[in-house]
């Protein structure tokens, strides 16, 4: 049982044509398994979180009751992307598991929406927000080691609270960025093979091998997104993460949650002390 389906091209070459569709189920079951294992771990084995906290009363007093986290533009991007991603997954994989409908048109339209929203996000995050806030830094890696050691009962100093985004969030962003870019880039080329009214169809734009690799990459990233989205939704509805989810709806998080999970020195909000690592004060989405 291979991960890729192969065929003989008209020129006698063995070429990949797409992924083996059982990978849909592998990823769905993988995502489900992760959720179950994580829920059991948090519920039964995990120790309470403990962070190094050393906030001065002045800093605490300067934190507003509602800490701005995501601007309206950033929230709009997130939900547009989310809707397009769900539309893409539904239109891509329901027909593969037996629910037949005219999916291609919906799929490429959703793909264009995703492409546009991601392009917007790249420009917005690169030039109008703090680009580096979503990428792991040295403190994240140091604290990851500390948290790991403490989880295994080893002696280690408590980690700092998170900056704007926890390390797991940053890793997730990096992985979904890779998967997302893979489906977008391959998907845009694949639009040359379907009726869109945008491109003139040309199935001979690339050779069979190149097309095959493109379909395989599109498929692998696509099934990977099944697991990634499942995990994302799971964390979005976990009780301890709900304040973060709510901030993606309302734009802010409560002061108590902010002080509990986030370090004002690493993610300074408007009216509080300046960040020791960022370029300046944040008003959300920096």
């Amino acid at each position: 049982m291979g991960l890729i389906q192969w065929a003989i091209s008209p020129w006698g070459r063995t070429v990949p044509i797409h992924i083996a569709w059982f990978l849909i189920w592998v990823c769905a079951i993988g995502g489900l398994t992760f959720m179950i294992v994580h829920a059991l771990y948090v519920g039964i084995f995990a120790r309470p979180k403990k962070f190094a906290v050393n906030d001065s009363p002045a800093v605490v007093a300067a934190i507003p009751e509602r800490v701005p986290r995501h601007s309206l533009v950033a929230r709009a991007f997130h939900w547009v992307m989310a809707i397009s991603m769900f539309a893409l997954l539904i239109t891509a994989f329901l027909p593969k598991v037996g629910v037949k409908f005219d999916w291609v048109t919906y799929h490429w339209i959703a793909g264009l929406v995703l492409t546009a929203s991601v392009l917007f996000h790249i420009v917005h995050a690169s030039f109008f927000l703090d680009f580096w806030s979503i990428w792991p830094d040295k403190i994240d890696l140091r604290d990851a080691k500390r948290r790991m050691m403490r989880a295994f009962g080893k002696d280690a100093p408590p980690p700092d609270r998170f900056a704007k985004y926890p390390l797991e969030n940053k890793f997730y962003h990096a992985v979904i960025l890779l998967a997302g870019l893979a489906v977008i880039i391959t998907g845009v080329f694949m639009m040359k093979r379907v009726n869109t009214g945008i491109f003139v169809r040309n199935p001979y734009l690339f050779g069979d091998m190149t097309w095959g690799m493109m379909y395989v990459l599109h498929g692998l990233a696509g099934v990977g997104l099944i697991a990634l989205i499942m995990v994302h939704v799971y964390f979005g509805i976990r009780p301890e993460k709900l304040p973060i989810t709510k901030s993606m709806i309302f734009g802010y998080m409560e002061k108590d949650f902010y002080l509990e999970e986030h370090d004002p020195q690493r993610w300074a909000v408007e009216g509080s002390s300046p960040s020791k690592e960022g370029p300046g004060l944040a008003t959300g989405d920096d």
Partner: protein
């Protein structure tokens, strides 16, 4: 037709003698089974070794699937009735002449002697890339070799090109759609009856299938309702050779006139899209109008409104426009202004 290049692959040959047994066998073997009616399409696939079923269910011994029976509302034609029988059947000739005419234009006399109505309507699409076994979309791959700009697509679709651009070639289907025929399926859940046009699937729904038959389903009969018996019919097949050729296009219409105006009409074409097309918009547009050249011209223009030609088949647009016009106003009236 693909080049026959090998002997058939090995398979278990099952020869049921009743429709119930045939359906049970198909259900039992699911996707591993291949249904064979007259064998004319089947043997192409099998001898070319493009299709390699594990089990072949030969329906030739199922007598109950053969013959034409009168019913309280028309006639019922067994799926295994040969095309020759349909051509010569007196009731069909008298009441449903359009089907008789369409069946007579299928291939050659020898093929019509062997070919069945069920097999004719269920035959696979025509596309030499697909039938050669290349890994195209319809064959389970990721490309349409026949598509623009360089694929050879003179005979292919001008409508409904959704990744696959092959066309459904059955000559009898437009006539059956025009007659408002009902297809009777025997499934694991019992009998199911569908309108003729709903029997076929386009690539937008399932690119590897041509009809709604699921593994285990069997087309047992086709019913012609009396509502269109004795109507004014028109059928025309255009092909490269006037003997033994697949259609470049078929058109069929059934009209009930009230005086000089069209009271009811059903109009269908095949070989223009991956599935046979009923032209509902055209039907609605010509109802209540005289069946003359003006109406025919309007109908022809409306019929091709959304046509999108491929690189080598733009000729199909004026061809279809003229055929639709002729199907309404007749050959004599079909000269264009």
């Amino acid at each position: 037709m693909a080049v026959i290049r090998d002997v058939m692959p090995a398979f278990d040959l099952l020869q049921p003698t009743s429709a119930a047994d045939a359906q049970k066998l198909l259900e039992q073997h699911g996707e591993e089974a291949w249904v064979m009616a007259g064998g004319l399409d089947s043997f192409d696939w099998l001898k070319d070794r493009i299709k390699k079923p594990k089990v072949l269910v030969d329906l030739s011994g199922v007598d109950e699937l053969k013959g034409v029976r009168s019913t309280s509302d028309g006639v019922e034609i067994g799926a295994m009735t040969t095309l020759t029988e349909i051509v010569n059947h007196p009731v069909i000739k008298a009441q449903y002449g359009i089907l008789s005419e369409a069946a007579e234009l299928v291939a050659s006399p020898q093929i019509r002697n062997q070919g069945t109505l069920g097999g004719n309507v269920s035959q696979d699409v025509r596309c030499w890339y697909y039938r050669e076994g290349w890994p195209c979309y319809r064959g389970g791959g990721n490309i349409c070799y026949a598509d623009t700009p360089v694929g050879r697509n003179r005979e292919h679709a001008i409508f409904g090109a959704n990744r696959c651009v092959a066309v459904h070639p059955a000559d009898t289907v437009p006539a059956l759609i025009a007659l408002d025929a009902k297809f009777v399926l025997q499934t694991s859940k019992g009998q199911r009856v569908v309108d003729a046009e709903d029997y076929f699937l386009g690539p937008e729904i399932d690119i590897t299938k041509i009809n709604i038959l699921q593994p285990g389903d069997l087309l047992t009969a086709i019913r012609l309702p009396s509502a269109w018996a004795g109507a004014k019919f028109y059928f025309e097949k255009v092909r490269d050779r006037n003997v033994w050729d697949f259609p470049l296009m078929n058109v069929a219409s059934a009209m009930v006139m009230q005086g000089n105006t069209i009271d009811r009409i059903r109009l269908a074409v095949s070989a223009v899209a991956p599935r046979p097309m009923r032209l509902k918009d055209v039907e609605d547009a010509v109802k209540g109008k005289p069946a003359d050249a003006t109406t025919g011209e309007m109908a022809g223009n409306l019929a091709v409104k959304d046509a999108v030609p491929l690189q080598f088949n733009a000729y199909k647009i004026p061809l279809m426009r003229n055929l639709v016009k002729r199907s309404i106003s007749g050959v004599e009236e079909a000269k264009w202004a």
